[in-house]
């Protein structure tokens, strides 16, 4: 008997105008969105590959440690085709030096700061917007419609138990939703598999299966909620008004309100960095100046101080010995200081991120009670494209930074090697030249640049520059981002899925209860 009811429900739905229209819209949109996102993904992958190549190339041409910076690119995730999360908004690379622990991505395809207005819909927004609507269409009249039509009393007067009718209706409805949902997922995956240039993660299909499962759980909870309202109301139009109000509130109103309230809290509280950064930077600069002042060996050539840029300064080969000695001590102190301050600045940011994390925990807890957001968040967690995925990236990056700094320590990078890639001893001819220039400098009779010896030095320095051999960086630690392991991902979305399951069970029992209480004799 259940079989008959399920079949009838299913066929009824299948040939209704609303079902066909919704399914068509959903399939067309999924196709368009997948194609657009696949294109976008390919562009990002291209960007990534080019970036990686140029970063590798740059590492082979580092003359001294002051020039060493590691560009790290974040590989786009194939899952972002379906669940973009924050992936196409945030940039795609960071630069690691011992002077800064990065906390945000730069670059990326989203290079236009003003274009955040233009986002595109994706699979999860199609499920939330269109499949929810489809589910509502199927559910709102399934009981109240039959009440109005009088067919429910007829059905009940036969020897069919209420439980059977109810379960049959539920199954029929859920199967009617499952069919187009499966089509959309399969279509999307098919398009992705057909595109050659996509590099799939090893567990891409597994993740897609989970996301499929989440959407099914979510949609069935919406369907059961619809059944509940449908059993409670007398007419289908009444039930529809309530369910649509529910749709508006959960899909649009609550997420926006909760998110922006949480953003407001973060913006109001996470001010640690903003408040203290200026003082810290001032402190760093005084410390740096002090470090330089404290060095007993004074550099005889003051013009060396006006080096073009502190990071990428390269001392010339020909320098007076005291200048060399001075900078040897200076780099050791200053770069160690810079490294310490990088950690202090990072700590400032960490305090803010703690506030953000705590607020996010509250926000996510609140959002798990809103079924569409609960589903979207679970999908994002599984795909690893949301802000949690980004946090994981930066966590690993922080660890890598320490490893990198240890490497620099091991190589004694903060010594003269930092910016002087030559042997210490000067050839005797050059030594005379240096002495000559030093004499002109100390006599101060004429500007230094007018002396021919100085011009010679500049020329010689240029020649020596040609001879610099790039640093050997073969044993430099390599950063490889590890996506969260399956157990970790499971742990992160378990709560959301549990809530969805509880939603289902609760709605089912409530709806059944409401249906069982229905008294056909009270009709009209």
């Amino acid at each position: 008997m259940i079989g008959t009811i399920v079949k009838r429900e299913f066929l009824d739905n299948l040939f209704s105008f609303k079902f066909i229209a919704c399914v068509l819209v959903a399939i067309i949109l999924t196709t368009i969105s997948t194609i657009v996102h696949v294109n976008d993904y390919c562009d990002r992958l291209d960007d990534f590959n080019k970036g990686m190549a140029s970063a590798q190339d740059a590492l082979t041409q580092v003359p001294a440690y002051s020039f060493l910076k590691i560009d790290i690119y974040k590989r786009p995730s194939a899952l972002s085709i379906f669940i973009p999360g924050v992936e196409d908004e945030s940039g795609n690379n960071v630069t690691i030096t011992h002077r800064e622990i990065p906390t945000s991505l730069k670059g990326g395809l989203q290079k236009n700061e003003f274009a955040t207005i233009f986002s595109f819909f994706d699979l999860s927004s199609i499920i939330i917007n269109i499949f929810t609507l489809l589910t509502i269409f199927l559910a709102y009249g399934s009981i109240s419609g039959e009440k109005e039509g009088g067919t429910l009393s007829l059905a009940l007067s036969n020897g069919v138990s209420r439980a059977r009718i109810f379960v049959g209706k539920c199954l029929g409805g859920i199967i009617s939703i499952t069919v187009p949902l499966t089509l959309c997922f399969l279509g999307g995956i098919f398009i992705v598999l057909l595109s050659k240039s996509i590099q799939l993660e090893p567990d891409f299909l597994l993740s897609m299966c989970f996301i499929y499962l989440f959407s099914l759980l979510y949609l069935s909870s919406i369907f059961l909620f619809g059944m509940l309202i449908s059993s409670l109301t007398k007419t289908s139009s009444q039930s529809l008004i309530i369910i649509l109000a529910f749709y508006l509130v959960t899909v649009f109103l609550l997420p926006t309100t909760i998110n922006s309230a949480a953003d407001g809290i973060v913006a109001g509280k996470a001010k640690n960095y903003e408040k203290n950064i200026n003082a810290l930077i001032k402190q760093r600069n005084t410390d740096l100046d002090k470090a330089e002042r404290d060095i007993a060996v004074k550099s005889s050539w003051v013009f060396m101080k006006a080096m073009p840029e502190r990071v990428s300064a390269l001392l010339g080969r020909l320098n007076p010995p005291d200048t060399i000695a001075h900078y040897e001590i200076f780099f050791e102190r200053s770069e160690k200081l810079e490294e310490d301050y990088a950690q202090k600045i990072y700590a400032l940011r960490q305090q803010d991120s703690k506030v953000r994390e705590n607020t996010d925990r509250l926000r996510n807890l609140a959002l798990t009670l809103v079924p569409p957001s609960c589903f979207a968040h679970a999908a994002e967690l599984e795909a690893g494209t949301g802000s949690e995925g980004l946090n994981l990236f930066f966590q690993q990056l922080g660890l890598y930074w320490h490893e990198y700094v240890r490497y620099l320590d091991k190589k004694r990078a903060f010594s003269l090697l930092y910016s002087y890639p030559y042997p210490r001893e000067l050839p005797s001819a050059d030594g005379i030249l240096v002495e000559e220039v030093e004499r002109v400098w100390t006599e101060k009779k004429a500007p230094l640049w007018t002396s021919p010896a100085f011009r010679d030095i500049v020329k010689r320095n240029k020649q020596y520059e040609q001879e610099i051999k790039p640093l050997d960086l073969k044993d430099l630690p390599v950063f490889a981002f590890q996506r969260g392991k399956f157990e970790q991902r499971l742990g992160s979305w378990l709560l959301n899925v549990l809530v969805l399951i509880i939603d289902n069970v609760l709605m089912f029992s409530l709806a059944y209860f409401a249906f069982a209480r229905y008294d056909p004799r009270m009709e009209g």
Partner: protein, 458 residues
Amino acid sequence: MFRYLLKRQLIEDVIGFKFLVYTIIILTSLPLFALIFADRHQTRIDEYSRNAIENSQNVRSSTSSLVNMIWMSQTILMKCQATRFVCDGYEGQMPHGLVVTIWGTRLAAERDNAETISPSFPDLTFMVQFFFSFFALVLTFDAISFEKEKGTLRMVLSNKVKRTEFLLAKYIGSILTIGIPFVIGLILSLFLLLLRGISVLSGSVLTAMLLFMLLSFCYLSFFVLLGILCSTAGGGSKNSLALCLLCWVLIIVVLPKATSPLMNLKSFAVPTEEAISNAEQLAGREVWNRHKGENTLVGKPEAESTKLNVTIRSEATQAEEAVYKYYLGKKIRTVKTLMNANFISPTSLFEYASGAAAGTGLAHFERFQRQLGQYQNDLVRFFKAEDMKDSESPHLFFHPDYVSKKSVDYNSVPVFKEQEPGLAERVKEAAKYGAGLILYNAIMFGFAFIAFQKYDVR
């Protein structure tokens, strides 16, 4: 007769179940929005005033010597307007300020707690875009078909009632029904904002509100007409509803995003920050290369070579600034082009129009940039005037070694003050998009009218 029809329609709508449900939602969420906004606004004002103080300290410390003003850079934030409650215009996700120096203006560094998570801010525009449009459709999807199914349409039209009158009564009745919670909600939220200490009774907020109400009327009337059209031509209440809601999803969710893929077009591509700064350096070097072989050694200020050096240096910096400015302009132009391409979506039109009415969003940034450009000119003029006062200075701009080193009177340094846009400017800008909305209304009205005239009431 028309009056009677209208009255009946209005009463019927207002005592209905739909009206109750949606009014409750609207009257609970609008005050909530107001509270969230008030909170955020306060944070922004604090940020803004702290930044202003920092700037003035910065300027004060630079006034010890005119030379310092060459290096002086002020990060100036965009003013936080109370009209952002009407329409936020994605300001939270856009650049929030500019850095002004004697050479030019550049985008301020991204703020540390950028508001990236929520795609839309709960403002009045959001409410009208999503809620009221939905309400309008739910209210009207069975306006005609229900009367037909119950047989009352036949009876009404068999009296001496013109079809046009009947249609107009439905239309105006629905608009008024939507208007009631709308106006109450607006007043309530304004009142709450006042209570939280936000001065919403200023001219700019009130005129923005008025313009916004006009625009909302245009926007919602489109949906009312759409509902009536679906109700007439949809074939039965059930189908008409499905049709209405699908149209709604397409108009609200899909159409506004339809032009987004255009963003990836080659002609809209903007190079990365790094590439732009490389291009800048190239432009600067280009200027130097033009003078290759000439004597550009800096020495005594009277020497020709010194003058040439300073001129080239200044030209090179200007060339760099010009490159930056070009790409910044290109970014804005791209977004504006796409915004104009979005005229196919009434929702986007409404959003842009109310943003223009409120003076927020991209238009705000452009205005800010324009005003800051003028300020930067003032700064340059001020610098030169101060330098001219010093007879010892060689007046070679802007080389730190060849300008006056005298101190400057802090009070005479120009201070930037952002002007809010005039009413005329806002109306003009809003009318551009509003005209599109009116066009859509006219088309929809035509369709609804024809469909109803042809409608077989049996």
